[in-house]
């Protein structure tokens, strides 16, 4: 038994229980499917069967795909397609996708282990895009409910705060039993506000770095404009203005570096 299989055993304990639960409650319509195929002719009849159980081999792809160079699948699910699906179906689809992702990651690991080529690695990304979109749709629905009922989004509260170095970061709130004024441990642990000579000196240098990065980016785009004008004297200036909004193009046109190494045509 390879190392992967042993890992799978551990994973199976967690994944299997949840998948089986979802399958048991919804035996009627099972999607044995992963990706939404691009525009096709209407399908004849959906065959409703309970899925085959292969035990741990469900972590591996169909053996007929093992020696192939690429396994073709359709595209990922889009948000607009997921928005028209019921919660139940989204819940089922989530576990179908999760199983597929587990399978793909196992296959990828196993292929790397055995020095084989993992066919069509873009499948991992397609599943990830689908799962991200699904999560987005579920979040939209929950936010709508919470806004309607409570006037708040129901998301975990976040705000921008300064840490002790004076740098901004996203503070994600936590749930506490005690109110903030009673929670001495929290009051002592939080580092709000900053000051002192060392921090000020750090901030000065940090801001200098940010400023230098900005300045270099500006110089770089300025040089790029000059090189483009040098190679193509008749280049469309409107395009350049839109592409490089912070570069003074009219001033650069007469710059020495923007002039090509040729005799200019005068009076033509």
């Amino acid at each position: 038994m390879s190392a992967t299989l042993i890992k799978c055993l551990n994973l199976a304990k967690t994944v299997r229980t949840s998948t089986i639960k979802s399958l048991l409650t919804a035996p009627k319509q099972q999607w044995q499917t992963l990706c939404a195929a691009a525009l096709q002719t209407p399908h004849a009849q959906m065959v409703h069967t309970s899925p085959m159980r292969h035990g741990l081999m469900e972590f591996f792809d169909d053996p007929k795909h093992w020696s192939e160079n690429d396994v073709k699948v359709g595209r990922a699910w889009r948000t607009e397609e997921l928005r028209i699906k019921s919660n139940k179906e989204l819940h089922q689809l989530w576990f179908v996708l999760l199983k597929e992702r587990n399978m793909l990651l196992t296959m990828e690991h196993e292929c790397n282990d055995k020095m084989e080529i993992f066919p069509s690695p873009e499948r991992v990304d397609k599943v990830k895009i689908s799962m991200d979109n699904l999560e987005k749709v579920v979040r939209e629905r929950n936010t709508a409910y919470h806004l309607l009922e409570t006037g708040e989004t129901g998301e975990r509260p976040q705000k921008r705060v300064n840490n002790s170095f004076g740098l901004q970061f996203n503070y994600k709130s936590c749930e506490h039993v005690l109110p903030p004024f009673m929670n001495l441990k929290w009051i002592k642990s939080r580092n709000i506000g900053f000051g002192g000579r060392a921090v000020n000196r750090f901030l000065l240098k940090y801001r200098e770095q940010l400023y230098n990065a900005k300045r270099k980016a500006k110089n770089r785009s300025r040089n790029e404009v000059m090189m483009i004008l040098r190679r193509n004297p008749n280049f469309d200036l409107g395009v350049l203005r839109r592409k490089f909004p912070d570069v003074d193009i009219d001033k650069l046109r007469s710059a020495d570096k923007a002039r090509g190494h040729y005799v200019p045509k005068i009076g033509v």
């Binding site: 999607w31 499917t33 992963l34 990706c35 939404a36 195929a37 691009a38 525009l39 096709q40 002719t41 209407p42 399908h43 959906m46 169909d62 073709k72 699948v73 359709g74 595209r75 990922a76 699910w77 397609e81 928005r83 028209i84 699906k85 019921s86 919660n87 139940k88 179906e89 819940h91 873009e122 990304d125 397609k126 990830k128 895009i129 579920v138 629905r141 929950n142 409910y145 919470h146 309607l148 009922e149 129901g154 975990r156 509260p157 709130s173 749930e175 506490h176 039993v177 109110p179 903030p180 929290w186 790029e224 483009i228 190679r231 193509n232 280049f235 395009v239 350049l240 839109r242 592409k243």
Partner: protein
């Protein structure tokens, strides 16, 4: 609608690969700070790649952009509206095939290049060895879209300048400057590596049929996702949560 049309490029992604995969496959991360509180999130990775006719997800691309190698920067002129599509008939303006017309077979937007079928070619010797002289193959060199080619007017099959205009219906089209005729975007542009036309796509084992994808099963309901699923599964939650504070 006009704004969306104006912003969206009409060029179709021939490889049909997700953008995330292309980004992931060409990524070269040299070092990344651990995701801990005492580190600022910093990544040292390759930022500049040399794009050639080798596509970013291939092994040849990686070979040309081996870690810790640096190549001179290539100047890329900005192109706002991409105007050359697969299947377009174009006239070559430079090189040994100057004046000849051909069909665009490949588009490489990273370098503003197109490859025209059977034109601007050279011989390449491949697989030469000490004992074996190698095989000679013919390969087409890319052509620059701004300087090296121009579109062919379909009315008289002569090369022409063109511009993007809008029709009465608000559709964005290429119009020949000489004859004023619309130069249609060829159907070949919609082909991908996986299918020629969307209807000709062969459904695979794990694909969801289009009819199932388009089915509307959503019923608006005053409940969150979790509440709905719990109701579906017959889970009843009677307990009231204790008072808690978010901060």
């Amino acid at each position: 609608m006009r704004i969306t049309q104006y912003l969206a490029s009409k060029l179709k992604n021939f490889s049909n690969l997700p953008k995330e995969y292309i980004e992931r496959s060409k990524k070269q991360v040299y070092w990344q700070t651990p995701r801990e509180t005492n580190y600022l999130p910093r990544t040292v990775e390759r930022k500049r790649f040399r794009y050639t006719t080798n596509r970013p997800w291939t092994g040849q691309f990686r070979q040309q952009n081996m870690p810790a190698t640096m190549r001179r920067k290539v100047l890329i002129e900005p192109v706002e509206d991409w105007s050359f599509f697969r299947g377009d008939r174009v006239e070559v303006l430079v090189g040994k095939d100057k004046g000849k017309q051909g069909i665009v077979t490949q588009v490489i937007t990273e370098r503003n290049w197109v490859i025209v079928e059977g034109l601007n070619w050279h011989y390449r010797r491949v697989g030469a060895d000490k004992d074996f002289p190698g095989i000679i193959i013919k390969s087409e060199a890319p052509l620059h879209v701004l300087n090296d080619i121009r579109l062919v007017d379909p009315s008289d099959l002569q090369g022409t300048e063109f511009e993007w205009r809008f029709t009465e219906e608000g559709e964005k089209v290429r119009v020949s400057m000489r004859s004023g005729r619309i130069i249609p975007i060829p159907e070949t542009n919609n082909q991908t590596h996986d299918y020629k036309t969307p209807n000709a796509y062969i459904e695979r084992e794990k694909d969801t049929p289009a009819a199932v994808v388009g089915e509307i099963t959503f019923q608006p309901k005053l409940s969150t996702f979790e509440m709905d699923i719990m109701e579906e599964m017959g889970i009843k939650e009677e307990r009231t949560p204790a008072k808690s504070y978010w901060y």
